[in-house]
Each structure stands twice: as structure tokens, then as C-alpha cells.
Amino acid sequence: MNEAALSETQFHPVETADEHEPSLTPGNTGKLGMWVFLAGDAMTFGAAIAAYGALRWHNVNWPDPADWLGISLTALMTFILICSSVTMVEALDGIRHGNISKLRIFLALTVLGGAAFLGCQAYEWRHLIAGEDLSIKTSLFSATFFILTGFHGCHVFGGVCYLGTLLVHSFTRAYTVADSKIVEVAGLYWHFVDLVWILIFTFVYLI
């Protein structure tokens, strides 16, 4: 086999990997960091949901959530969050193709979706607290409800601030394709928030 044929069959890496590169996410250290953070956050949410399930199981005093919680509004909130996940992934697709306008538009839509979700959540809480006199001290049902949805709401608020900062940066800084890593990491956080809500919606509202 001549040298030309050999060179075609040999692997030619574009660049030599740094010895400190994480093997799980080469080229994007921040992505591994975000995944590890999300794993820890998932354990926190998971512990809260597991405790909720364990407290509720065989609990004869647990009220029917349908008597207190509105499903239509919550279904709308779920749909809003799913839509915001789509806009987030489209924003990432935009910057990966060098389309900064697409990044800005879909990031703005994602932030709007998050804000709309928070608005609906605030409306629901106000109805329950002011209208129905339900508070975190009333019962185990109300305590677990407010803790789970409140903790998730804090995450949504943090995500809105995070993505809002990226949106501002997209206008003030010259974002390039290389900055897609930053958007990808932010997207992981936002999709995680959506994923957790999918579970909370099912376990707290529907079951």
C-alpha cells in the first residue's frame, strides 16, 4: 500500500486534544459542568417529589387535588413551557448556523415564555392564598404543593434571568458560531426546568 493510500486510511485529527479535556464532553467543558450541576439539582427535586409521593401514599387525609387545583390553567402553563423549550433549541440552532438574528428572536421568545409561565404561577398562588386561604402551614398537601411549585418557580425565575442576560449580550457583544457553546449550556438548564415541570404537573396535579 503506497503512502497516499495509507494517509487516506489514517485518522487525521483536526487538533490534538488537551490532556485536561473532559472525556465526556470534549470541546465544551461548561457542558459537563452544567450536566453535573443538573444531576445534583435533579436529586434535590427528586428527593422532594419522592418525599411527596411517600407522604401521600396511603394517606387517608390527603385531599383530592382536583378540588383545589385548576387543571386547565396548569395545562396551559405546561404547553407554554414546552413551546419555550422549542424556541430555546431553535435559538441554539440559529447561533450554530451563524444566524444571530434567529438567536435573538428565539431567545426573546423563550424569555417571554418563561415570564408568562411565572405570571400564570403567580396568578394561581394568589388565588390559592388570598382566595382559598391555603398556605404552606395549612396542611401537608398545601405544604408539599407550595414547596414543589415554589422551588420550581425559583428555577424558572433564575432561568429567565440567565437567558435574559444572554439576550442582552447577543446585542452588546459580537456573538459568533464559537459562542454557541454558551447558548448550548444555557439551553440545557432551560430544558431541565421544563423536564421537571412535566413531572411536577403529572404527580401533583393529575395523580
Binding site: G53, D93, G187, T202
Partner: protein
């Protein structure tokens, strides 16, 4: 030509995402349909075991779709799947370890009273039970 690993592909080659599976809009449609299915199961008035089983299955399917295609876990290296899957195992463990203990508590199984921070043997608050029952005037949000 150097072959990209799945993780490198996810990071640097958009075409791997474009041609590696369903599109984002397709996944959005799946998620919307599954959410509708959840609402349908909720409204059908099925037996509790069947309803809970179906709802949990639908929720986990939606969660898997978000993780695999929006978070691009399907394109990542398998080692990252271990990072993502570990919390699930710990949560399942926590639930099955907590449930037998918590279900056996008096304030769970007794239909009498239930207060936050109630200790067995201490006087209970009669109003706490009334708070659990939705008043006749309670309106659901929507």
C-alpha cells in the same frame, strides 16, 4: 476523513443534529400529543392503579423525549448518560425507602387530625382536618 464522535458531533456539527433523528418540531408535536393524552387519561375516571400507571408512563416518556432530543443526550457519549441517570436511581431508592416508614405514621393512617409538625401524643388542632376538606364555596381556578 476524521470521524466525529457523537459528543463532538453534537458540539460542532449541526448536521448531526439535523439528520440524526426527529426534528425539533416533530418532538414538539409528540410532546403536545402526549400532554393531551395525559389530560384525556386524567378526565376518563379510570381505576386509580391504571390511571397512575398510565400517567407516570406518559410523563416519563415526555421527560425522555426532552432529555434525548432537546438536551441532545441521544448524541452525547454514553458516559454522560450515567451522569443523567444517577439521580433517577437515587430518587427511586429514596421513594421506596421512605414509603414504608411514612405510610405507617399515625398522622397518615388516622382519619382524625393532621397538622404540620404534629408530634404523637400532643394535643391536636381540630381545625386542621377541616382545612383539608375543600369548602363548598371553593372555586377551582379554571
Amino acid at each position: 476523513m476524521a470521524e466525529l464522535t457523537p459528543s463532538e458531533g453534537a458540539s460542532s456539527n449541526p448536521s448531526a443534529l439535523e439528520h440524526g433523528g426527529p426534528g425539533y418540531i416533530t418532538i414538539f408535536v409528540y410532546l403536545t400529543v402526549l400532554t393531551g393524552a395525559e389530560l384525556f387519561v386524567y378526565a376518563m375516571g379510570l381505576a386509580t392503579v391504571l390511571k397512575v400507571g398510565l400517567l407516570v408512563l406518559l410523563a416519563l416518556t415526555k421527560a425522555a423525549l426532552v432529555a434525548m432530543y432537546f438536551m441532545h443526550l441521544a448524541l452525547e457519549r454514553k458516559g454522560l448518560w450515567i451522569v443523567a441517570a444517577t439521580p433517577l436511581m437515587l430518587v427511586a431508592f429514596a421513594y421506596f425507602m421512605l414509603r414504608p416508614d411514612l405510610s405507617a405514621r399515625a398522622w397518615v393512617s388516622s382519619p382524625a387530625h393532621q397538622t404540620i409538625g404534629h408530634h404523637e401524643g400532643e394535643p391536636t388542632n381540630d381545625d386542621a382536618h377541616a382545612a383539608l376538606v375543600a369548602p363548598a364555596s371553593a372555586r377551582r381556578l379554571l
